[in-house]
């Protein structure tokens, strides 16, 4: 399940150190640019559509130094794409 947001994810990982003082907020990223941070996911989403419309890709991500695990308790087939272990 390769993501289409590889560039935005790379930007997030690159900028995480500078964003760490805002842990818990939601960052809005488009391409290689950090656009803004928001206290609520929905506000970041709304701003993403306002700035990027339907044509430019954007990502909304919670700023987490130690990401909380996200679980799906059901069995799924072996994966075709795994994230890096580090």
């Amino acid at each position: 399940m390769a993501t289409t947001l590889e560039k935005e994810l790379a930007t997030y990982n690159r900028e995480l150190n500078s964003l760490k003082s805002q842990a818990g907020r939601f960052v809005l990223i488009s391409g290689e640019n950090v656009l803004s941070t928001w206290s609520a996911w929905e506000d970041a989403l709304q701003e993403g559509y306002r700035l990027c419309g339907l044509d430019r890709r954007f990502m909304v991500k919670k700023i987490e130094l130690y990401p909380r695990p996200v679980f799906n308790s059901r069995m799924v087939p072996p994966v075709c794409h795994r994230s890096s272990p580090n």
Partner: protein, 146 residues
Amino acid sequence: MPSIITQLTPEGAVVEALVGVSQHRSAVMRGLQVPVPEPVRLRFLVDTGATSTNISQGRLAGLNLPSIGVVDLYTASSGSTPVQCDEYDVSLVFPDSVPAPWGIASINVIECLPLDGPIDGLLGRAVLSCAILTYNPFANVVTISF
């Protein structure tokens, strides 16, 4: 308070929801006079073990959504290495809620690999955290009250 009352099935507690374009995306589409896709009706297994709402790969194709996020998802078969999955912003409406349909205008859902059984997704704690979940074992009924 709006409630979904569902009989427990061999698959578990299953509810139907209309999954559509999120309120924020549809507002932009209407502003640009782009047709907003019709919501799709999907079957969700109520799953208190799922952090977020998950939807099987391909079920959202008709909505033509771009991904707006990425999460590392741990599943029952992923072991200690998570699966990287895309997130999408959608609206959820539960048409069978009484006394009236109840919904969420914008929520993020995770697209996962196809789930086993006749279900399209998992209704996880991101939605259930807005509700009181009651299981009546004598009537074999699950009630979700929002």
